[in-house]
Structures are given as structure tokens and as C-alpha cells.
């Protein structure tokens, strides 16, 4: 497969997943802002932007983090490469470039999302509810994902799509959890308190995992259980370990199909082994923020190695 084709497939996946992350961030932010304020309204939205890695771009364009501006920035702003609109537009363009590597259904799903987005952009902002925008995003992300799973040949292209999805999703889970860090960490007193749990529960809700969590753990919602669920539980579809195992699986399939191992397989195996052997206690001891930052960095290096090993076209 052409490296450029693989690259476009990989970015379709990353961008669709990133669009979903932007929507989830918006949802977490809106919910947290409804709580009695811990440090005032401003810092909570700010923490959200920081977790999304968009704080500087936002400040430069809008100044103060007001909810409406944040909605614009995360959803409609084409200057923000991580906004829902920018991601869906770019993913559809990636799809158009590699149209022959996609089934009609996958193309249909991408194209429909794009056409509906254009219609949304023409509507009055005052008519648009935040929940409508986030639900719309997740619905279309799911439709693309579903079309890929149901109709695509299980060849190398399928592996590159999945690698893109898992890499982006792991990154997103880590970032969404990190929002929690920004909101909470300054006041150690809150750990284990009712408010603390309410905020954690909001996080679960944003990951559409609240019910799943209760099925898996039951009883009291504690920080340790939630951290275990989102980081170490292979049953959770968005947990870090699920994402890394997924990448590892699809990288393994590539190595087998091509009869060639690269640094990417090595790195993902090491990342997986690390998650396999760590406990929640050890993570809290290291500090959740430190642990998550490290994971985000490691995932980024893995992304760079995947690029060099398969997508850049420069390997010999």
C-alpha cells in the first residue's frame, strides 16, 4: 500500500476520534461548570482548554474563556485544528483522497457527516443546544466507525485505521482524565469527598461509561475504582490499556503481513507491558497528573515512530 494512502487512512481515524474528543471535552466542561464553583468559573473552563492542548490558541483569539466562545472554539472554529468542524472537514478530505481504499459505505458516512456539518454551520447559533452538538458529533463518529467495522476488508489499510483510532483514543482518555487533575489537585482536602466523586462521575458520563462502570464495579464510586477503570481495565473500551493493546494487536498484524518488525512494535509492546504491571496505588503514588503526562508523551513518541516506520515513505 502507498505510504500516502496509509497516512490518509490513519488520519481519517485520528480526526474522527479527535472530533469526538472535542465534543466530550465540551460535555465535561458544561457539566463541571454547573457545579458549585471550587475556584470560580474561569479556571474550570481554562483547565479544559489546557487539557485539550488548546489553551494558547484560544487565549490568542478570544481572550477570556467564556462558555460561548469555548463552544465556538471547540466546535465550529476552523482555525482550531482540533475543533469538531475542522476534524470532520479534514477527515472527509482524507477520505476523498483515498476514495479507492474505502468502501461506498465508509465514504457515505464521512460525506454525510460533512454535508450535515455544513448545514449545522448555516444555522443560528442561538438555536443550537450544546447537547445537540455533542450528540450529533458522537452519532456521526459512531456511524463512520461502524461502516469501517462492517464493510472494510481486513487488510493493511484496516490496520492503519485502527492504529489511528486507538492512538487518538488513548491520548483523549488521558487528556480527559487530566481535566480532573486541573480541577481537583489544588485542594487535596477534596479527595474522597462527595464533591470529588460527583466530578469523577461527570468524567465517566462524558466517556459514556457511567453505566458500564457500575456494571463492572458496583458499590461506592471511588477515585481508585475510576482510575482503575479508565486506565487498567481491559473491559473498558476507552481505557488506556485497551487502546495500547489495540495498537499492539494491529501493529502485530502489520508486522506479520509485511514479514518485517519495526521500532513501532517494540515500543508498543513496552508500553503495554508497563500498563500490565502497574497498580492504581502505584499510579496515585507517582501522581495521576505525572502518570498521565508521561502516557501522553509516550503515546506521542509511538505516533512519531509509526510515522517514520510506515507513513513517511522514507524507510528503506
Amino acid at each position: 500500500m502507498l505510504s500516502r494512502t496509509a497516512d490518509n487512512l490513519y488520519w481519517i481515524a485520528r480526526r474522527m476520534e479527535r472530533a469526538e474528543t472535542a465534543a466530550r471535552l465540551l460535555e465535561v466542561g458544561a457539566r463541571i461548570s454547573l457545579l458549585p464553583s471550587v475556584h470560580g468559573y474561569r479556571s474550570e473552563w481554562d483547565s479544559l482548554l489546557r487539557a485539550g492542548g488548546m489553551a494558547d490558541g484560544f487565549a490568542a483569539k478570544y481572550g477570556d474563556p467564556v462558555q460561548r466562545n469555548i463552544e465556538s472554539h471547540l466546535f465550529f472554529d476552523h482555525d482550531n485544528p482540533s475543533s469538531v468542524a475542522a476534524c470532520i472537514t479534514a477527515a472527509r478530505e482524507n477520505g476523498r483522497i483515498v476514495r479507492t481504499a474505502l468502501t461506498a459505505q465508509v465514504w457515505d458516512a464521512l460525506n454525510t457527516a460533512f454535508q450535515e456539518l455544513r448545514a449545522l454551520e448555516r444555522r443560528e447559533r442561538s438555536e443550537l443546544e450544546l447537547s445537540e452538538m455533542t450528540e450529533w458529533t458522537m452519532r456521526h463518529a459512531a456511524m463512520v466507525r461502524g461502516a469501517i467495522d462492517a464493510t472494510l476488508l481486513r487488510n493493511d489499510g484496516y490496520n492503519f485505521l485502527n492504529i489511528g483510532y486507538y492512538l487518538e483514543r488513548g491520548d483523549s482518555t488521558a487528556r480527559l482524565m487530566d481535566v480532573k487533575y486541573y480541577v481537583l489537585l489544588p485542594k487535596v482536602d477534596y479527595v474522597g469527598s462527595g464533591l470529588d466523586n460527583y466530578q469523577w462521575a461527570t468524567l465517566l458520563r462524558a466517556m459514556s461509561s457511567q453505566r458500564a462502570f457500575h456494571w463492572a464495579y458496583g458499590g461506592e464510586v471511588t477515585a481508585a475504582k475510576i482510575a482503575h477503570f479508565l486506565i487498567l481495565n481491559p473491559q473498558c473500551p476507552r481505557s488506556l490499556i485497551t487502546c495500547v493493546a489495540g495498537m499492539n494487536n494491529h501493529l502485530g498484524r502489520l508486522a506479520k503481513a509485511y514479514g518485517r518488525m519495526t521500532e513501532a512494535q517494540e515500543l508498543s509492546a513496552r508500553l503495554l507491558a508497563g500498563l500490565d504491571s502497574v497498580s492504581v496505588e502505584a499510579i496515585f503514588e507517582e501522581g495521576l497528573h505525572e502518570f498521565l503526562s508521561r502516557f501522553i508523551r509516550d503515546a506521542a513518541s509511538l505516533g512519531a515512530v509509526i510515522h517514520d516506520s510506515y507513513l513517511s515513505g522514507d524507510m528503506r
Binding site: L2, S3, T100, Y258, R260, Y310, G313
Partner: protein, 470 residues
Amino acid sequence: MTSCFNEMYLQGAVRPPYARLEGWTRAMPAELRQMKQAEAEALFRRIGITFAVYGEGGDPDRLIPFDMFPRVFSHAEWTRLERGIKQRAQALNAFLVDVYGRGEIVRAGRIPARLVYQNAAYEKSVVGFVPPKGVYSHIVGVDLVRTGPDEFFVLEDNCRTPSGVSYMLENREIMMRMFPDLFRENRILPIDSYSERLRRTLASVAPAKCDREPTVVILTPGHFNSAYYEHSFLADLMGVELVEGQDLFVEGEYVYMRTTEGPRRVDVIYRRLDDAYLDPLCFRPDSMLGVAGLMDVYRSGGVSICSAPGAGVADDKAVYTYVPEMIRFYLGEEPILNNVPTWQCGRDDECRYVLEHLAELVVKEVHGSGGYGMLVGPKSSAAEVEMFRARIKANPGNYIAQPTLALSTTPTFVADGIAPRHVDLRPYCLVGESIDLVPGGLTRVALTDGSLVVNSSQGGGVKDTWVLAE
């Protein structure tokens, strides 16, 4: 322009090739027609066949209008056309090999040296080079018009990268899906082997150095190009990679493409890119679309390029005048298909005639295409005619003129029923180890009443084109 040949009716009677279509249209109520038309449009849109018009902006996902009324040729009509088209494709290729070699035709005084060697499309960097199998133009699009039962004229030749073949194939697919009964009642020769024949043609001109099953690719300028759909469509049908310049690189004596498994050698490049953009080291240094060093590999026989760089010298509108001479000179045969009589404004006496009769003539730029920059005298205002007069006087060598032909019409669905509309025909002749032609082509139709311009960029539509079995 009083009477045009109508391909369906002759002196009130239905001509035989169209015999079975009369009943078909009579049996089709207006509602059904509208439903079918909407269905066809939805199919085109879903498949993604759209095209962008240069310099117009607007909707980039515009559809070319599709007319459901087929255009029909009898087997005998086609046999003659086929012989004529193949003859022309052969002579054009012989001409190209000759003018980049010893130039016998120029030495023999059969074509002016100026028209060949001072032609902007004459590519000095390939002088002395003979491409594999002696083929420069692998896909020759011969544009034909008709003025009577037996009168066919060649309007122009396209030796570089004629486009539109995806419409020929899709029009047929859609007609077969919508009107299967028509295909049961009429014995229509199939055209769907085109992509396989194209692949075979391209593989047959692999360089001598290639000692295995050749790797063929299509080189596209990219997804912003108006014909990108066609490029990806053909790549998909042939099962070959669709590459951009950035996917290829030169190392040693070969060209490679960048794949996820490392470099893979490429043997034949079907390029949908102009010569000027092929190789920044040889042509335009600012080209971002080409491959640095490609021409060196090409000239040393490491890769084949289709059409071969330099093929354009055979298809400009001034050289066109001499194609009948080429046929006589290289093949020792009389042309089966005639040229449209053409005046070269570059010649004083002919230019004088053109300027005196401007309002009756069609004037075209020598290097123009797509229906841009042309004057249709009888359909133009006095001011437009005068504007062209000034342009011709300023640069006579840049223009040719032809009589306004009474182009044939075929029945076409229009808002209030069926009406005759002018058509032309572009068959796609494949030249490799052998010369090959699928029975059919792209019929373009001028949808506006009375209009003679069929180009899609000027509001033309397309039709399915049938060749009946014997």
C-alpha cells in the same frame, strides 16, 4: 444551417439503428421519465462522478448532465469509423517517432519544418529517443462529428491525455441498471473491457529492462484536479495504484513508489499530468507535482511514460491539417476519415479569406481546448466577431478557422419532451503492442437549443453510445 442530419430520422422514416427506440420513447410517460432522470442523477452523485469547471468557482461537486436517450451506430457505420480511427492513431504515432528521429516527413517537404520544430509542444529533451514499441501516444482520443449518413469528419486529435472515458463507462453502467429491457431488445456491443484493455496496453509498453510482471501506476496531479474522479476510477478498475508526484522517487536507474513496505519499483506510468510538470529538473523547476530525475530514468529505459513526453506536437490544431498527409506518407493509404477543411491564419492568403468570412466561420486557438477561446461566427454578435478580428490580426499564427459544420443531431430529452440536439463523439483508441478500440465512445451533446458547443465546461451533457452487433 437550415437542415441538419438527424441520426434517428431520415426523410420522415426511422433509420434502422434507432428502430427499436421509437417504441421505447412512445411507451414512456412523462412521469416515468422524470423518475428515471432523478434516479440517474442520484446514482451519479452516489458514485461520486462530479467535475469542477475551471475558473468558475461555484459548486465543486457539480454533475455533468446525463441524457438518457442513447446515441446509436449500426455495425457497418462503426466498422468504417473503427478502421479510420485506428488508421489515424497509427499514423500519428509514426509521425511522432519520425519527428523525434530523422524527420523524413519534413525532409520530404510534406509538412513545414516550422510547424514541427518551432512548435511549443515539440520536446527537445526526447530527440532521438524511441519509446518502447515505438508508441508515443497510447490513448488517442479522436473527436468526430457527423454531417450526413456517410459524412464523418475528424474535428481534432487528442494525443496526450484525453479525458472523459469514465463517463463512457459509467453512462453504460447506469443505462444498463435503469433500462435492462433495452439491452435485451437491442444487441449492443459491450464496452466494459476497456479498463482491462487499457491495463494490457500499458503493460505491453513496459521498458525492455523490466524482466517481470510490470508494475503500472496512474500519476495524478492530485485531488484538487477537476478530473481526479476519473483518475481514481481508472486506478480502481485496473487495480493499480493512484500516485502523486510525492509518492515517487528516483534512485539509481529506476523509479520507485513509497509504500508501507518500503520502496517498490514502478515500470509504467500512465500520467494525467502535462509534460511541463513531469520533472522539475527537466521542465518547470517550480513544479511540485512531478518527480525529480524522472526524465533521466525515462531516457535510459528505466520506466515508460504514457503518453510519452513530446506527444503533444501531433495534436495541435495547425499540425492537425497535415494528418491526412501523414496517413499517405507513413501508411501509403488514403485517409478513411476526412479532416474538416481548415484555414491557417498563419498563411497570408488563407488569413485574408478568414478575415473576410469571419461571420460564417468557427475560429479556434491553435493550442486551445475545452471550448475556451473560440468563436462560432454565425452564433456570435458583431462585437464578438470584431473582437476576434483584432485578436487574429495581432497574432495570426495562433488561430485556425473552419467552416461552421451542420453537426448532426440525435433525439434528446428536454424540458418539454424530446428534441434534436447537436452531438459529437470521442472514441478512445488504445495503442500498445497492438491497436485496440472498444466499440463506443463518449457522445457529448449540446443541451441548449441550436448550440454547437458540446464541451462539458460550456454546459454540454453526455449520452450512452451504442454500437449494434451485426
